[in-house]
Symmetry: C2
Subunit: 414 residues, 2 copies
């Protein structure tokens, strides 16, 4: 079965806003075995919206309209969908009463315009909205002899998500032919996308029945595997088999097999070992600390550390000898190591991390170009330093650098 | 004139990828006075793509296809657009030669399949691709007596952007009736969206000819003003007039009138005053440092600071007396002030900033709920502390907190 998702709102046709609900809906639909074949964005325009609705009914079995259900003259979804389906619209007296009650409870007078929100397409089932005033609608129709499921849902993410999950999914589950789908996600640190693909393509190409999607970020790759089969067990077996083969091929570059982020995995390891961590960041300026502390409960293992942007701070907070800096330069293997060792001792942490580099776009030289970063991890017994040359802009270089540092901590704890 | 943008690629119909090129194209088209009326996403499917192209030709004057120009069997844009326009396709011998030359230069054998990239729709102008192997195409046709401009462009952002800007924009400028458009952006810190709108709606509603768009982030609001008129001067006058009226109404909540970020503005002020800054962050864990250091050249005023996630770190790096913490709690007005004053003295900075709070989701109590944050700015003469209660998840609370701290620094330097 296939679906079309139609996002309605003139703001979605400006350079500033983007529909993101469709990603959520697509994931839910895919889990039922429904593929999304079309996505359309259309403005608050009667003619355009009616035309888009007519096109959709002609090409998809499941059609989801999002937005345009508010009380203003601009909210046209109800009437345009009705027109496209050649149906009448009526004002539902129960809904009208509920709207007035809602306003009365807030001790506000309801503008008469608001009654528009009680308009229902003939034959539609009303979907109550627990988070807002615009109810949704569910319709089943026939078009040229083929069945169609049509949904009108509100636009705000916190309204559409519970409505779709709690009310539409059960209806869809009863009507969409049952399919068995299994998924797995592997996450890989610090490999280039093409290097990763080169290593794994010969493997996943042997699994024609498993869909493999590669998503690449800065030093972070997600491999998403999806299989369909007649039984849940058969589907699960196929993704598990491929996941196992990919894990073997990628070895310890795989850091997660259950969807966790790298900072989460590092947190698990640290807690498991009863260890603590402290950081001294130069070019990343706080990004590593921010990532470590983005995990709720990270205070159990993340002590804190220092942002040592200037040379004086490197000495003040991480006891890096000024001589070492003048001798090797602030961006050097030696200073990275001294930062990791110094911050570890200062904070009495199990693990100390140091990062120093040139994030650009200015500040690079021939010997020390933009993108050069040294990362160090010290555990009291040994200090591991890695030199890397990153490509890309300031933001991307800083993301790669923190990813490398987190990956080194992970490997040190393995 | 109106446009439709069609993004092609099955990956854009998964939960993982989203077309972002259309935002860039929309901005460029808007500058010519062209509105985007429809956006469509369609997969690598012959029937679907041809149908989508037919629909687009029926409803838009400018039609931009993105993606599906590669050499594989999945790349169907050329043939499907040709089919929808009832045109033939031919292999361009010059392009074929260029493709072979390209491969020869890389000392690689060209797969024969690759010749597909030299296929050109009859009547199309070839748009050379300086960043990749797939050339674009530009076509002018008539549909039911109305003129249509049709573009086939590559999908990767670093290929489509220069091609559109350098080759399509000049062609469009010659053909789209000239309009005069002026824009202004005002940025506002630490106001709620509805509070801001309440204050300014009576003003911008008087300027029916200026389009006002409000974009709200965590403690950050952008007001985008656009006016069209017969002359550039007239358009500019209208946006400038409204911008002036909005600035008067919002007073010093407006931090930028030329598009700068808050961290950039804070950087300008600090440099202008020859001042330096150091931070001591508890609940934001490095995010404030990360934002300050995200600006290239920030090392001129940002010294660094400390991530004082544990109580011991607050004492170690910012000299907060342990007694003060045990007496008032780590999340308190007193500790925030001590952090700002302590880090300022330790780092010998002009300005010291302290943040302490409860980012959640765990760790809240009745007296100190999740979302409670204290922000302090010390300049040696006085220390200003602000208490705030934020709503939302961990990430959002931390963004609001850093925004508040940056805004306090801005106001201290004004």
């Amino acid at each position: 079965m296939n679906a079309e998702i139609i996002a309605i709102g003139s703001e979605l046709l400006t350079p500033y806003f983007q529909d993101t609900n469709s990603l959520f809906l697509t994931e839910k639909l895919n889990h039922l075995g429904v593929t999304v074949d079309f996505k359309t964005v259309v403005g608050d325009n009667r003619e355009h919206l009616t035309a888009a609705a007519r096109v959709a009914v002609g090409r998809a079995s499941i059609i989801i309209f999002m937005g345009g259900l508010g009380p203003t003259e601009d909210d046209l979804t109800r009437e345009c969908v009705a027109a496209a389906l050649d149906r009448e619209i009526h004002r539902d007296p129960t809904l009208v009463t509920e709207l007035y009650k809602r306003f009365a409870a807030l001790r506000r007078r309801m503008p008469e315009n608001n009654e528009r929100q009680a308009e229902v397409i003939d034959g539609a089932v009303v979907l109550p909205n627990s988070r807002g005033s615009a109810p949704g609608q569910w319709l089943e129709i026939e078009h040229d002899g083929a069945p169609r499921m049509v949904m009108l849902l509100p636009g705000p993410p916190h309204e559409i998500k519970p409505m779709f999950e709690e009310q539409c999914m059960p209806l869809l589950r009863e009507r969409v032919p049952r399919q068995c789908i299994a998924t797995r996600v592997l996450k890989v640190a610090m490999m280039g996308e093409s290097a990763c693909d080169e290593r794994i393509a010969p493997i996943y190409q042997r699994y024609a029945d498993v869909q493999t999607t590669i998503l690449a970020g800065a030093g972070d790759i997600q491999l998403r595997l999806t299989a369909r089969a007649d039984t849940q067990e058969a589907a699960q077996e196929r993704v598990d088999e491929l996941a196992g083969a990919l894990e073997d091929a990628l070895d310890d570059a795989v850091y997660s097999t259950a969807g966790e982020s790298l900072e989460q995995i590092v947190g698990y390891y640290l807690q498991m070992r009863g260890a603590t961590i402290a950081v001294a960041e130069s070019c990343t300026g706080g990004l590593l600390g921010q990532r470590l502390s983005s995990i709720s409960g990270s205070s159990r293992y993340f002590l804190g550390g220092a942002i040592v942007y200037s040379d004086e701070m490197k000495t003040l907070f991480a006891n890096v000898p000024p001589m070492l800096i003048s001798q090797h330069g602030a961006v050097s293997r030696e200073v990275a190591a001294a930062l990791a060792e110094g911050i570890r001792e200062e904070c009495r942490a199990t693990i100390g991390v140091g990062i120093t580099g040139i994030a650009g776009p200015s500040g690079g030289t021939d010997q020390k170009p933009v993108g050069l970063v040294y990362h160090a991890v010290a555990d009291g017994k040994r200090t591991n330093v890695v030199e890397r040359h990153y490509m890309g802009d300031r933001d991307r270089i800083r993301r790669w650098a923190t990813q490398q540092a987190l990956d080194m901590v992970r490997r040190a704890m393995m």
